[in-house]
Symmetry: C2
Subunit: 877 residues, 2 copies
């Protein structure tokens, strides 16, 4: 017989899967000898069975329930039918992970027409007894039968008005009795059945209601959003009632063991005398600061302080504790890790280590990775936000931050306006590499198309710039410079505010709060670094980004995208000249000019990196990305390059591709135009040699992208090495360098053992690899990926979290085979997933040496790597 019920005495905190968080913690507190009202927990298994079984309770559950109720009665010497020692219970749901949206609590269960009188007699307080009954009728009706709250409230309020009662407390016992009678009629009207008088029936119905609430829409949506599995079920806790509302020596409250906003090490909480739990939440009366309890009931206060300390030390984390006082007797009803701001989380973790309550390994687990972002970017002031007019709330939170500025519709105007000292927000249907300078000049970027990995999103995250993408209820007319949104229209120059952490857009300027990094933050991050195995590098190419990444303790650069350097106007024209050249000589002439620029770039980058490794990816995008698209631009370019517009258009037409993602790009360009990579390699190595002459040693790692055969790599490597040897000979000096490849095609993964023989390093490009493994285009998947997530076809967007089953399998096996063949090979991940928590956890468990992400994601990634290591690194897979 499956055991569906555990006495609090039988459980412990490690049994969350079976008993839920609340149940496990009640049991744990019981075992610590804390004053917890007695009771038992019905397991999550029972819930899963019930839901599987078309809403039928497991066979033996009722039997077990009766046994456990009897046992409880025996222990506490109370029963549902006793006159004096009447048993009333609370029924509370409790999943493994705390989850709003489900049925929460029913108090005072066990009351009925008979028992309410007994309670009145026993307590000598009719008003109290009927108030309890009234509450039960209301709660039970709502949560078990789904009777609308209004059906009770309307009558309750009418009754007060009719009789001239100001507050609930004014209603006398008789009034509450009338109300109870009316509430019982509501049951019949709304559900055609009476309120169940039999306590055991109340209990089984309440249990079923909890189980059912697991599958309601709100709960499902919440789980979806928070990536909680749908199949883990909830437990139900049945616990003897204690009454905070039984007079002025009673009360109820909630307290945090430390300040959840600042992290300060003081008890932080509030309580109400003569009240039940819901009253604190309802906010009808103003609760008092926990500190005042010291004066009112010193020994209770002291007892609570002791309990708090004990729980915090025991759980090794700041706790959020619910308590009730019944006639000066303290009861603890719940404890759990307290929610807190990112800032508080850091301070608490650091303090707990310094207080020697936790180790630094434990500390890194006490801060949520996703909260780190709050510390790096400004946020809108919550109060100001409440008064702001919303423009859109359906955009994607592409890059965190909060910014306000004037709307502009083009990169050029963004630049122009910014130069004139204006703060601007660039709004575009989408962005392209040509917009980079405009993006830099803007406070934030908003696009109506594209997802979390669109150009705008990726580039903005790289810059640590606020960005919202896929804001599809906003329509941008770039030609007429007007925006239509559901609530109206906007013109160029109108001021808006953009919340990149939430994906929201507001009208006008909203006040922000600046991000500040504290000493505690630095301390915490350095512990994370100590703990982690996996290293974290950054994807960056501008000096500013690189400095940011190094401030965040990046261990090097995992990806310099050289093409980002080709979009400055002087460079772009040379790049275009290169593309439009019909002989190798002309191409080389154009490249020589670009090389000058590249040399300056690389020297700056390598100087900032010094001895930290710097992976420079050679040119990757298809050439058509460099050609102009608008008529005006075409005219300009044709004039600059001295060709006819027709000729230029012919070139553009020839370079056009049906599926550019699968086209003539990456190393394929260099196979066709060998001079391209040789030029870039020369620029890199010359810079390194020049730096060395100045006494600065650096470690460039040259990366050849989009390889799918060994020959592609070796042909290009040989050309590059030949050039490097020549340069070193000319300089009479040598530098340290590596040549490796980006693993982006499934085929590269499949031949990883062969590639590993000739490569110094691998860097997995998880974006392209995911696109190719699924056959999903990032640019187009928006059309169906929503349905896929909704219908559960995909658990997560594979462009945001590694698809372990498919892409992960390829990465794992490729890394393993590569290390087997070449134990010295360095293996990293430089796609977007390199900054994602779940993905990092996977990478930490396989043969990956480092991840690389945009500078502002470095601290989060560092924390992820540390947490993953603490949870169990390599050995666990």
């Amino acid at each position: 017989m499956t055991k569906y019920i555990y006495k609090f005495d039988e459980g412990q905190k490690s049994m969350k899967d079976l008993l839920g968080g609340k149940g496990a913690n009640l049991a744990e507190m019981k075992s610590l000898g804390l004053p917890v009202p007695d009771g038992f927990t019905i397991t999550t298994e029972a819930c899963i069975e019930y839901l599987k079984n078309d809403a039928e309770l497991p066979d033996t559950l009722l039997e077990q329930l009766n046994i456990e109720l009897d046992a409880l009665s025996q222990r506490i010497q109370k029963s549902f039918s006793a006159d004096e020692s009447l048993l009333l219970v609370s029924v509370r749901s409790g999943a493994k992970i705390s989850m709003p949206g489900m049925m929460d609590t029913i108090l005072n269960l066990g009351l009925n027409d008979e028992n309410v009188k007994k309670l009145a007699t026993k307590t000598n307080d009719s008003r109290f007894a009927y108030d309890c009954y009234r509450r039960l009728l209301q709660m039970f009706g709502q949560v078990v039968y789904g009777i609308p709250m209004a059906a009770f409230d309307t009558y309750f309020n009418q009754y007060k008005t009719q009789h001239g009662y100001q507050s609930d407390a004014d209603i006398p016992a008789e009034g509450l009795q009338d109300i109870c009678n009316h509430f019982k009629e509501v049951y019949v009207e709304e559900t055609y059945k009476p309120f169940p008088q039999e306590p055991i029936n109340q209990l089984t119905e309440a249990i079923e209601a909890v189980f059912k609430s697991w599958d309601n829409d709100r709960a499902r949506v919440y789980r979806q959003l928070n990536e909680i599995p749908h199949d883990i079920g909830t437990a139900v806790n049945i616990q003897e009632m204690v009454f905070g509302n039984s007079g002025e020596r009673s009360g109820t409250g909630v307290a945090f063991t430390r300040n959840p906003v600042t992290g300060q090490a003081n008890l932080f909480g509030e309580y109400l005398l003569n009240a039940q739990g819901e009253d604190v939440v309802a906010g009808i009366r103003t609760p008092k600061d926990i500190e005042t309890l010291r004066a009112q009931m010193p020994h209770v206060h002291q007892q609570f302080v002791d309990v708090s300390k004990r729980l915090e030390t025991h759980y090794k984390d700041m706790q959020d504790i619910e308590f009730t006082i019944e006639n000066e007797q303290l009861y603890i009803l719940q404890t759990r890790s307290g929610k807190r701001t990112a800032n508080a989380a850091i301070h608490i973790a650091v303090d707990l280590v310094e207080e020697e309550i936790i180790t630094k390994e434990e500390a890194v687990l006490n801060v949520e990775v996703k909260s780190i972002d709050q510390l790096l970017h400004p946020n809108f002031d919550e109060q100001s936000l409440k008064n702001a007019t919303t423009i859109s709330k359906i955009g994607l939170p592409a890059s965190p931050g909060a910014a306000s500025g004037k709307i502009v519709f083009s990169a050029e105007i963004a630049k122009e306006q910014a130069e004139n000292g204006n703060k601007v927000i660039l709004m575009r249907p989408e962005t392209s590499p040509e917009d980079i300078e405009g993006m830099i000049a803007s406070e934030a970027i908003v696009t109506t198309h594209g997802g979390m990995t669109s150009h705008a999103a990726v580039v903005a995250r790289g810059m640590g710039k606020c960005c919202v993408t896929g804001c599809s209820d906003v329509e941008i007319n770039v030609v007429d410079k007007v925006i239509h949104y559901p609530g109206g229209t906007l013109q160029e120059g109108d001021v808006i505010s953009v919340d990149g952490a939430k994906g929201d857009i507001y009208y006008g300027e909203v006040a922000t709060m600046k991000a500040e990094r504290s000493e505690a933050f630095e301390q915490f991050m350095s512990w994370s670094e100590d703990v982690a195995r996996l290293q974290v590098r950054m994807n960056a190419e501008t000096p500013q980004d690189i400095q940011t990444g190094y401030q965040f303790n990046a261990k090097g650069i995992g990806l310099v995208r050289t093409e980002h350097m080709f979009f400055g106007p002087e460079r772009l024209i040379e790049m275009r000249r290169f593309i439009l050249s019909d002989t190798q000589d002309k191409r080389i002439a154009a490249l020589n000019k670009i090389q000058q620029y590249q040399m300056t770039d690389f020297e700056a980058i390598l100087k900032l990196s010094g001895e930290r490794p710097t992976i420079i990816r050679l040119l990757d995008p298809p050439l058509h990305e460099f050609l102009p698209s608008s008529v005006e631009e075409k005219n300009n370019v044709a004039e600059q390059l001295n060709v006819s517009v027709r000729e230029l258009e012919q070139y553009i037409e020839n370079l056009n591709e049906v599926n550019p993602m699968l086209g003539h790009r990456g190393c394929r360009l260099a196979i066709t135009y060998p001079e391209l990579y040789v030029m870039q390699a020369e620029a890199i190595v010359s810079s390194a040699l020049r730096l060395k002459a100045q006494g600065i040693e650096c470690q460039p790692e040259i990366m050849i992208p989009l390889v799918s055969t060994v020959a592609e790599f070796t042909i290009l490597k040989d050309q590059i090495v030949e050039k490097i040897e020549q340069l070193q000979q000319e300089a009479g000096d040598r530098i340290q360098y590596l040549i490796g490849t980006m693993i982006e095609t499934p085929r590269a993964c499949l031949i990883a053992d062969e590639l590993a023989e000739v490569c110094d390093f691998f860097s997995f490009g998880t974006n392209d690899l995911t696109q190719l493994t699924f056959g999903f285009s990032r640019d187009d998947a928006g059309k169906f990926i929503g349905s896929y997530l909704e219908q559960g076809i995909l658990e997560r967007d594979p462009f945001q979290t590694l698809d372990q089953n498919g892409v992960g399998q390829l990465v794992k096996k490729a890394a393993q085979q590569a290390k087997a063949v070449n134990p010295n090979i360095k293996i990293g991940v430089c796609g977007e997933l390199g900054g994602d928590d779940k993905s990092i956890h996977y990478f930490n468990q396989i043969d990956i040496d480092y991840v690389s992400c945009s500078p502002f994601r470095v601290p989060g990634a560092l924390l992820s790597t540390a947490q993953s290591e603490v949870k169990g690194g390599r050995s666990r897979v």
Copy 2:
């Protein structure tokens, strides 16, 4: 010490790798006791060493050469220095695979100023001796020193003219002596060194020349074209000279043991008296039919007939034999399998089986797979071709056949003209699904873009229609209806001829020869079927194609592309209505109309297949393929569907994709629009039920395309099964059906074990799988795939021959895992590679049950499967 030289006595026919084809066969004939002039073979290993070693002969080779020359001298009692019994030798190259482009032959080696006199004395024929010397000087100069042929020929012809000699034979001994002297001067003029007088030096230089010629450009190009590895090297055969030019009782000739054109079982050959081998080839004198030798030298003729018979029986194949007669003594200089027409190949194979010389397993190996096409399609008459004006020779042979017709530039006009009884050739930059009807109406299709797997190529092969693609030296101006090609311009209506087997285009009409299938062909194909394990299905959807495939013994249909049925005008408009509907109800209304058409289609297809399995793939392409592109069409469609052109364009714009290959298509469409696949499944099953009611049982296999997760498949399968159950219940009858998936994404391969649990069958779509594994777009790869093949980065175009290392690895493992989980699962391949010989050989060795290809490729595929099985099926991998 590596043994670099083998006496003919030491070799045998199985040693082709080491001795080359010629050497191995000389040894074999020697061991059969046939009259082969004595000699020895220098191994391919020596050649490989030489080339690896920067053109230095292996250390011990010269030593071994001297030993073997001495041994030969001993055996035949002749030497380079003897007066009477002078040794002269021939030096011939001989790789494992016969290969033009290399140095071929030097005769009479060993002659010098001294020896020529001895030869004259010995034969008492100065003219003969100096003619031999003259030939040696010429051949040696050309092939060893690279002296231009003209340097000798010009003088030789001048000499004849000056002295008034009509033919070579008129030149007297003294004249030839003068010529020899002059030729020796040519050496000094051209190479600054004299002709080497020392026979051993002649020999070593000749050997080196053969080795070097392995790596010359022509040889490399030939190997590239014929997919011969570059690293196997050539052997060199040194053989005692016999002289067919030593008088009228001597001669030389070539004969085939059977007629190489018709296959008739008669000796077929010709010979010249008093001539050396080169004279037969040079064509200066007209050789005589071998039959006339019977009268001239009856015993020699009889001896040759016997040898022929013996060689054919021994080699179990028709032989091409070179022989020389020296003073009525027959010598066999070479035997090899004779080249033959496809028709002859079939007849010879069938006859050899009937004569019990070979088994049917051996017979299937005696016909080349690629020759089968010749038997299925018309060819141009060779004679007429010689007089034809070439328009282009650089197109790709996309689909075999030979056709002439008037140029048209659009599918509409093709259809119109064809309806008026005109034969037309559709010429387009590329084709799209909208052009299907025009393609059907045309005799041939020519495109200037696209490769062997472009839309035009795939569709044309499916239809068995002549097609040339990628004809990039021809520029089509569709607007002005004019074509520019290197030799001029063409207008609409001009007649051209297209050779789809070669990729050539000619001006005007060229006469063709019809394809005829013989009884022998049918016999041969039925043996192939007996021998094969792997089954062959067809990819087809029109009744005509299906009938063709079944005539060719296809075992069923491996791929019905339902979208091909959506392009008829009445259907297209409904499809467009579906796409433009904004509610599910409207979409269902449009689909209901399409369903009617689909039902008619499916009934016809299933009726033709009967109990043979028929895989029907549900809708696959992205929806934008169904929308109009030209302004005129847009206007029409907008009017038909009662929307504004602006609205229509908005729809088109919304459906537009950056990478359509990776976009919203395949099962992704049905996840978004579930009604789509349910409609198609209903049409299939209703048709099958209706046929069953008429007594025709059929086996539809419903295929869900582009799956990359298990959930995609199960969600759609459940919807389809629900509908099928309902239909069967309504009909009160049941049909046999399967539901399976197309494995086209790398991810589907990676999760094949999970998919196999819920699928009845897999069909690998190798086109898409190859695109995704490499990250190559078929439509765009043309820009670089040429360089990739040239530079040896790819050995073969992976869209034409399976990439075993990458894609093959995925296929193999997926099939293996699927069979392990579900031994009943049927696994096939329905991509283009399903018709490719090498790919079929691979598929035959792994867990694949059938391949499927276009109807006209079925016979070739069938032969491939049989050959693969004979060469060793599953066990060999």
